[in-house]
Subunit: 270 residues, 2 copies
DNA sequence: TAGTGGTCTAGACCACCTC
DNA sequence: AGGTGGTCTAGACCACTAC
């Protein structure tokens, strides 16, 4: 029953990949060279098991590698499918994007222009500042902040979440921030009208695998990292907001235009 | 021998996590709350197997989840260890960083200031432009480009790779770009001295799991994504370079300073 | 040499989807 | 009903590390 006793090396001592890696590498090559185009179904585990003369579990290990690299997805009862990605560009340096609500609009417009259907849910909360936010807002840890939270979809696919925190002192000057409804004219304009103008921002970008919570909200499978984008906005005197955007790494790309872009032209990199 | 027959649900029909997820969740909680601090060894597979009344393979599946989320690492003969990360900040918007070679110096300086030992290997190649690069340099696909490639380490830990492509027309005006040695004064100054001034750049940032090649160069285990940073630099007339930086996602964070930063102060977010 | 993780197998049963 | 992936087990042997 246990065949390990009979296992031998046929490679004359050459260092060799374990079998599950061979399976993964072979399938990866076939995906790269178009044998299995994006969206195609892969052969079933039992077929692959025969083809590679490996147990089903070994084949599963190999497939698991590909899944964890975001190359294929799997679903029960259906099989394995080659992942296909349509990346959305997100311009992070245009002045318009200083405006959170308008940013949302820009997002809706972009998505609609791409022939897709945008959708978002929105809520407002008052809660103690998370440590990272308090630090950036130069506020006391645990001090009260208003959170305006946005969960964005494209064609019912979760795309990103955006959490903007405002310090409590700002609420006194701009009370509508703490009210649940949309702010028609956009929060930035609303703030500007009250004499609070955002003159600059500081962006921080990092990546990691999603936490279980994020995986749930963004419905990302194993093997898809998230892009974390943290923007702290400043008036001339002090920080006025901190926006944390969590983007599905497989669906988003950010860009910044710095300096003179006149030579970039229109047919610029999509 | 096979106990599945005897397996029953004790949850009265409530939806329940599979056992390997319970293992992962329990360990994740213990890591989060400090029971297993960064750098600590986790109990061995057999100990966990007893504790959770699960087979070794099931425990392995759970640990595999944590590894694939970058929370723990494993090594043969040693055991599982809680990952500890020290993130390096990378300022992508300061003018100095327009200068590739000087960027390298800035990196060396930063690393040295942090009490770590920087190290890099460097090579120059002439090769056809990859499609993405040709597009950004507005050059014919497959047209000749000079690649200046840099592999960076901190304390012998691979940190990032940086590949800068220059279009062939530039080589005629700045032949030293194609020579293997360092350019003492920095490539940007060298180019500026020859009348080619970089007046702006376009940055694109994305994330994904590393390819096998990248995993090898950066020595990242499963569960660590890479940050991809593509910078296209322009003179007033046309693109002059395209730099692709691949950063270990667990060790790097990028930032951009846009607009007036006077309110950010010095004790700014680390 | 003992203990750790790494690979692999054979087989059982479950949950989901399609027909 | 039949096929697909998902979970789980028990056990074998290998490779690496520490002592």
């Amino acid at each position: 029953m246990y065949q390990q006793v009979a296992r031998v090396r046929h490679d004359g001592g050459m260092s060799r990949q374990p079998k599950y890696r061979q399976v993964a590498d072979a399938l990866r090559r076939e995906i790269d060279n178009g044998t299995h185009p994006p969206g195609a179904r892969l052969p079933s585990e039992s077929e692959l098991s025969e083809r590679f003369e490996a147990s089903r579990n070994t084949v599963r290990s190999g497939l698991g590698l590909l899944v964890s690299q975001g190359l294929v997805t799997s679903s029960q009862g259906l099989g394995y499918e080659v992942a296909k990605h349509e990346v959305f560009e997100l311009n992070a340096s245009r002045f318009e994007n200083l405006n959170f609500e308008q940013n949302g609009d820009a997002y809706s417009t972009d998505v609609t222009n791409a022939g897709r259907r945008p959708h978002q849910t929105f809520r407002v909360e008052i809660l103690p500042a998370p440590a990272a936010v308090a630090e950036r807002l130069k506020a006391e840890p645990e001090s009260r902040t208003v959170l305006r939270f946005c969960h964005r979809f494209v064609d019912d696919t979760p795309w990103s979440t955006q959490a903007t925190y405002y310090p409590s002192w700002l609420i006194d000057e701009a009370p509508r921030l703490a009210e649940p409804g949309d702010i028609e004219e956009g929060t930035t304009r609303y703030l500007a009208d009250r004499g609070i103008e955002q003159v600059g921002y500081f962006d921080e970008i990092s990546t990691r695998m999603p936490t279980p919570d994020e995986a749930r909200l963004l419905e990302v499978g194993a093997g898809v990292p998230v892009l974390l984008w943290m923007r702290t906005g400043y008036s001339a005197e002090r920080p006025i907001r901190c926006t944390i955007t969590t983007l599905r790494g497989d669906l988003n790309r950010m860009n910044y235009e710095i300096g003179d872009q006149s030579a970039r032209g229109e047919g610029a990199p999509r």
